[in-house]
Symmetry: none
Subunit: 224 residues, 2 copies
DNA sequence: CTTCGACCACGAGAATGCGCATGAGCCGCC
DNA sequence: GGCGGCTCATGCGCATTCTCGTGGTCGAAG
């Protein structure tokens, strides 16, 4: 984890940086807004601690520039005690949190940890199997990077198969997970959907049929 | 976006609730810890404002119970001035942010905005999707730089969709976040609003309908 | 090797029901 | 009372899904 500390008070900067290093982070330091902005723009930080009152370019502007440039790393702002309007401006500019001066170093550390933890939670949920990618959150699937146009049942089927990659999945199991309750078991709907899905997924036999048992989604590293 | 305000001071509660409603949120109110806990446990809020000193059950306990129960919505705590230990306790219990009393209402609003957009994974106060811009700060939306004239429900719908860009959002989810507690679910109101919103947003099919599942706002940089 | 039975693939048509537009009534606000 | 916004009902169009029938494939047994 790499952290940038932008703070013009050299004493405070060192204090924070030391505490962070002690906690196991890699720390870069900057002492004015321009330097800080440049570093944040070019280096990949996991979090930034940013004073609001800085020489050359103030903290608000720095955040705004980063955000306008697509930089999304968590930013923790340091504000003067009673400047609540600064806090509002900072938060609206895109800061994720702030601490009012004077602060306890442990509080800053706790917040940095929280920010990093939270930022880690936003990775999109994707399952990959060979050329097939499934994004459960967006309800989208693609093969070789090409978007598939799936109906909701087709998607549910693919989803279930991909969640059980490598396993043999019986027809009844599929029925039970694709439909709410009682469903006419003697119909070949599943086969029909498997057929359609195979067609949409394309050539490589990704969905293998295990005669008498059900279907199996090919694991990516399958030595046939 | 739907928000719960838990505060026993009726005056303060109303003050906050009114300000939030003015900003386009749907607000539920609770006046003691138990009521607040129950509501937060059963209804899907996008954020909660929670006083720390409450009758029947204090704020810390409320958060702890929610978190222990898997509830992850952002919680903004209201603490008494200078009670540093309360802040720490609140954060440790699982609160996401706090404001010390007495506070400026705008500060609370700014923090709520920040919490909501952070929970959705956005870093700046403006959310952009293709030609559409949503200004969470001013509660305004524009297409190609032209201001849209939206009714409050239309705005809430657009806001929720844009906060969940790329994800499929179900009709019930939309209902739950656009209306407060009791609302007749079996009607096609949402479809009507989607229709109107589409008309106002103009040609490009920004709101995609996913048959059987819900709606999805098209992400701008669509990775095909 | 051949034959038989069970199982599976696939195409095409039929039926379902979802989503959309539209417009009428209703409510609250000015 | 007029107006703008919200809700609800109706009917249509069409994507999706289900059914059915035929033909193909596989495995085992004679």
């Amino acid at each position: 984890m790499r952290i940038l500390v932008v703070e013009d008070d050299t004493n405070l900067n060192r204090q924070l940086s030391d505490a962070l290093k002690e906690s196991g982070y890699v720390v870069d330091q900057a002492f004015d807004g321009e330097e800080g902005h440049y570093l944040g723009d070019t280096e990949p930080y996991d979090a930034v601690i940013l004073d609001i009152g800085l020489p050359v370019m103030d903290g608000i502007t720095v955040v705004e520039k980063w955000r306008g440039n697509g930089k999304g790393m968590p930013v923790l702002m340091l504000t003067a005690r009673d400047r609540w309007s600064d806090k509002v401006a900072g938060i609206d500019a895109g800061a994720d949190d702030y601490v009012a001066k004077p602060f306890h170093v442990e509080e800053v550390l706790a917040r940095v940890r929280a920010l990093i933890r939270r930022a880690a939670g936003h990775s999109s949920s994707e399952i990959v199997c060979g050329p097939v990618r499934l994004d459960t959150k967006a309800s989208k699937a693609s093969v070789d990077g090409v978007q598939l146009k799936l109906t909701s049942h087709e998607f549910r089927l693919l989803s279930y198969l991909m969640h059980h990659m490598g396993q043999v999945v019986s027809r009844t199991e599929l029925v039970e997970h694709m439909y709410d309750q009682d469903f006419d078991r003697d119909s070949n709907t599943i086969e029909v959907f498997v057929g359609r899905l195979r067609k949409k997924l394309g050539g490589g036999d990704l969905i293998e049929t295990v005669r008498g048992l059900g279907y199996r989604m090919q694991a990516p590293t399958d030595a046939l």
